[in-house]
């Protein structure tokens, strides 16, 4: 399920080409995962079976161990029986009964026998030990009436209920003394074939428990003891909880009547800990060996079921880890694909950027070229304007030149024809020649400056009337030669504006040139009644009682502007003229020049009748 989901996730996220190419590795990985799971299951099952076998072996080993202990106990008790028999038939005890039979009293004779018996018993107490732990804790010699004759514990005056010794094999029995269970062995002492008394021995709990009863571990929940056929028990005063002991006894007593060995597991004690319990008959004596121990002490705390759970958990962890690895691998592949795509896009974008940069560069070059071309065109336009103005300029220069020639001829005449020409008249003629020459210099300088500074941005405060007059002077002769009337009506007051005077002249020259073309075209189609005329007016527009705007109006009665092109006349390179007649830049340059001086240029026209251009410039104060 996880793999299917994972595969779906991967195939849904990865590009189709990737899924196709990676399908085989995923299948291989899935197969490997399944093999791994199968292997883990195999390991779990194998381990489970091994653990079960090991558990069974441990239980059997424990069973044999307990049986061995019970057998050892049997041997131990057999030795004790032998000890007791030997003591009962010892010379000392026999002498006592002989002397007593002879009629000797304790005070006169028997004391020494009892003393010797006590010595013998004490010697036996001291001699019988296991690794320093005494086997017996007390001996008592009784007479047939049950009176204590010798007591190694020195409790001669105490009475205790000891079963009357009977002839035969020593008898084991459990009794309670001082609220403590005690295991005793008793046997009879006989003299001349008759029971003369009895010998009772107390087995030392410590020797019994530490070497034969208790299990060899430090677990406080385990324990062992001895059980007789009457249900009396001799249990260690160990740290085993009383509740456990009681439950063990309860369970044991229920099963006690079962034949042979009984060996069961019971949940006992706090937390229902499983306990192994055993009750085994001790050979040759009527006692049973009772033992209990937590099961996990024998079979180990790690039960097979826990092993399965643990291994299952391990398998799940492995699978989850494997799934995670697959998922992360898929994520990595997706990310890698995306990264590759992004790299490709970046490469494409880079190349496109390069192309764009090249195009921008080309465009900039084109624009530069365009600017150059425009500049050249403007320059050629301006030169063409100058060419068109050449007649006027020639006329302007011709007049002073005629004067220079005339005054020069007068001087020559005076020098040749007058005997005594006056110096003053010569000077007067020379001064007039100089004056005319200055006029020509002025004209030439003006033309040169116009050619150089027109289109410049350097401004100065000039009188708009003078600027318009200078421009009209350049074209007045041309208009006159073409039979066109040029009228001017300037404001009586100077109109100070802050502009580049030559640029404004260029604007005026352009507009006058267009007006001339318009009136000439109409003149060509009109009859003689038509009188072409171009008028130039200047005025001031007052605001709040003072002049604020200088207005220059150039109108003509030419053929006007077609309505179709009315919106395009200020567009660059738009012209209605023949290619050799105009560049289409005149009005666009005019508009840009006027707007550069924070002014406006507008027009109104009537098709085939007239056209009127109005330039408005802000008036400023006169300089210095």
């Amino acid at each position: 399920m996880i793999l299917r989901h994972l595969k779906k996730q991967i195939t849904s996220r990865l590009p189709v080409f990737w899924t196709i190419h990676q399908k085989k590795p995923i299948l291989a990985l899935t197969a490997a995962s399944l093999l791994l799971v199968a292997f883990i299951i195999f390991l779990v099952v194998s381990n489970f079976r091994s653990q079960m076998a090991l558990r069974e072996a441990s239980l059997n080993r424990f069973r044999l161990y307990l049986e061995k202990r019970a057998t050892s106990l049997g041997y131990f008790f057999s030795e004790r029986k032998y000890d007791l028999k030997m003591l009962a038939h010892s010379r000392e005890i026999n002498n006592y009964f002989i002397n007593r039979t002879l009629g000797m009293s304790v005070q006169y004779g028997l004391k020494v026998n009892l003393f010797m018996i006590k010595q013998l018993l004490e010697k036996t107490l001291a001699a019988r030990n296991i690794q320093g732990t005494k086997i017996y804790s007390r001996f008592v010699l009784l007479d047939n009436a049950g009176n204590i004759l010798v007591d190694t514990a020195g409790k001669l005056d105490r009475h205790f209920a000891v079963p009357r010794p009977v002839q035969g094999s020593p008898d084991f029995f459990l009794t309670i003394e001082d609220n403590q269970p005690q295991l005793l062995i008793s046997t009879s002492c006989s003299y001349k074939g008759k029971t003369a008394g009895g010998l009772v021995v107390w087995l030392n709990d410590r020797a019994l428990f530490s070497h034969f009863l208790t299990l060899n571990d430090n677990n406080t929940r385990s324990g062992a003891g001895v059980l007789d056929d009457k249900g009396n028990t001799l249990l260690p005063d160990s740290a085993a909880p009383q509740a456990i002991i009681q439950q063990v006894l309860h369970e044991t007593l229920k099963k006690r009547n079962k034949p042979s060995v009984f060996y069961e597991q019971h949940p006992l004690g706090r937390g229902n800990q499983e306990m192994l319990m055993a009750c085994l008959p001790i050979p040759n004596i009527g006692l049973q060996y009772l033992a209990w121990i937590p099961t996990d002490q024998i079979t180990g705390g790690f039960t097979p079921m826990r092993l399965i759970i643990g291994m299952g958990a391990l398998a799940i962890v492995v699978l989850v880890a494997l799934g995670s690895i697959l998922w992360f691998s898929a994520q990595n592949l997706i990310l890698k694909t995306r990264f590759d795509e992004a790299a490709k896009q970046q490469t494409i974008l880079f190349s496109k950027n390069q192309q764009l940069k090249a195009e921008i560069q080309k465009r900039e070059q084109a624009e530069c070229e365009l600017v150059k071309q425009r500049t050249l065109r403007i320059r050629s336009d301006r030169l063409r304007s100058l060419g068109e103005m050449a007649a006027g300029i020639a006329h302007e220069l011709n007049q002073p030149l005629v004067g220079v020639r005339g005054f020069a001829e007068l001087m020559i005449y005076a020098l040749d024809n007058e005997q005594d020409p006056s110096i003053d008249s010569i000077r007067d003629y020379a001064e007039k020649i100089v004056s005319q020459a200055d006029r020509m210099v002025h004209i030439i300088n003006h033309i040169r400056l116009f050619a150089r500074d027109a289109g410049g941005v350097e401004t100065s405060v000039v009188d708009l009337n003078q600027t318009a007059d200078s421009a009209l002077n350049l074209l007045r002769a041309q208009f006159k030669s073409h039979g066109l009337r040029l009228q001017q009506n300037f404001s009586a007051h100077p109109l100070w504006v802050k502009v580049n005077a030559f640029s404004v002249e260029e604007v005026i020259l352009n507009l006058l040139s267009n007006a001339r073309h318009a009136v000439e075209q109409r003149k060509a189609v009109e009859d003689k009644s038509y009188h072409p005329c171009v008028r130039v007016n200047t005025s001031a527009y007052c605001k709040n009682g003072s002049p604020a705007i200088a207005v220059l109006v150039i109108d003509d009665n030419g053929n006007g502007i077609d309505q179709d092109v009315a919106d395009k006349i200020f567009d660059p390179f738009f012209t209605t003229k023949a290619p050799d007649k105009g560049t289409g830049l005149g009005l666009s340059i005019c508009k840009s020049i006027v707007e550069s001086f924070e002014g406006t240029i507008e027009y109104v026209c009537a098709a085939d009748e007239w056209t009127r251009f109005e330039i408005r410039l802000p008036i400023c104060a006169q300089e210095g």
């Binding site: 002498n95 009293s105 006169y108 004779g109 020494v112 003393f115």
Partner: protein
């Protein structure tokens, strides 16, 4: 065994009546001899402490007797005297004596006793410096020697063989009553005794009981008295308690204790009346020896059962 029995029977039947007459003659001759010796020889005195120190030797007079003197090397008294010699810083020497001569060997005086009376009969060489041999404090002995502090309890019991029809007395709680009951049983019974010892019949007035007194041949050892009873050569014998205890252990089922013949007695080392400093030195030594528990250990070694009969002993 039969030969021994026959020999002892001959001893009893032939020699016993003659002994009484011979003893009188001997006593008379001995008295005369002792008187002559006294007149002829200068009196010899027992050595006191300085003499012992000067001689560098302590002479211990004793008789092999039960566990008091088992041999020259062992026995309660041997060990005690060896310790005393070591305390004095002198050598130890055991001087074997006999019950008849041991007092004379210490005092250098011969004597005769009759009951509690003593008659000096002459002088003899001093053989030793101290008597320690399970030596019971008796009145006549006190007249001849000085006893140190008592160091062992004792008494005299009547012992018979197991098959005897003489039945043991039942304790009444009063030792005197028990003594009387025993003496009553002696009428017509033979009793083996040893003169000049704690088993001397005159000490207990056995002649008055009607018993047939059998004196042990002085040449024989006191240790033979119980075997003579076991062999039924004599019917009964007197025996002091420490030896009787050993006999009970040694011959269980062969003898039986009939009952007491005497009240409690004490044993003590005997010194010559001319050796007060030596006696004082012993007292000092014994006080220390007892106080550090050494003496109790010594008793436990040789007579462990004595405390069962005499619980107040050494307390």
């Amino acid at each position: 065994m039969n030969r021994i029995r026959q020999h002892l029977c001959h001893l009893r039947t032939v020699w016993a009546p003659r002994l009484s007459a011979a003893r009188k003659v001997c006593l008379l001759l001995g008295f005369t001899l002792a008187l002559n010796l006294t007149l002829i020889h200068p009196p010899s005195l027992a050595r006191d402490l300085q003499d012992v120190l000067k001689a560098g030797k302590l002479r211990h007079l004793g008789i092999p007797y039960a566990n008091f003197i088992s041999s020259i090397e062992s026995g309660l008294d041997v060990e005690l005297m060896r310790k005393f010699s070591a305390y004095l810083g002198v050598e130890y020497e055991f001087v074997n004596s006999s019950w008849r001569d041991i007092v004379a060997d210490l005092t250098g005086k011969t004597f005769q006793t009759h009951g509690e009376d003593v008659i000096l009969t002459g002088k003899c060489p001093v053989q030793g410096d101290v008597i320690a041999s399970g030596f019971t404090i008796l009145p006549w002995r006190k007249k001849l020697i000085d006893f140190a502090s008592a160091y062992f309890p004792t008494g005299v019991w009547l012992i018979t063989y197991a098959g005897s029809d003489l039945s043991p007395v039942t304790p009444t709680g009063s030792i005197q009553n028990d003594i009387n009951a025993v003496k009553k049983k002696l009428n017509g019974r033979s009793v083996l005794v040893l003169e000049d010892s704690c088993l001397d019949p005159s000490l207990y007035k056995l002649e008055e009981t009607g018993a047939s007194i059998q004196l042990l041949d002085p040449s024989r050892d006191i240790c033979e008295m119980i075997p003579l009873v076991i062999a039924r050569i004599v019917e009964t014998t007197l025996m002091d308690v420490p030896v009787a205890l050993i006999a009970l252990e040694k011959w269980p089922g062969d003898i039986k204790i009939v009952g007491p013949v005497s009240k409690r007695q004490e044993m003590a080392p005997g010194f010559s009346k001319s050796s007060p400093e030596l006696k004082a030195a012993f007292e000092t030594f014994f006080k220390r020896y007892k106080s550090d528990g050494s003496y109790r250990r010594l008793v436990m070694k040789y007579y462990p059962s004595v405390f069962t009969y005499y619980p107040d002993f050494l307390k």
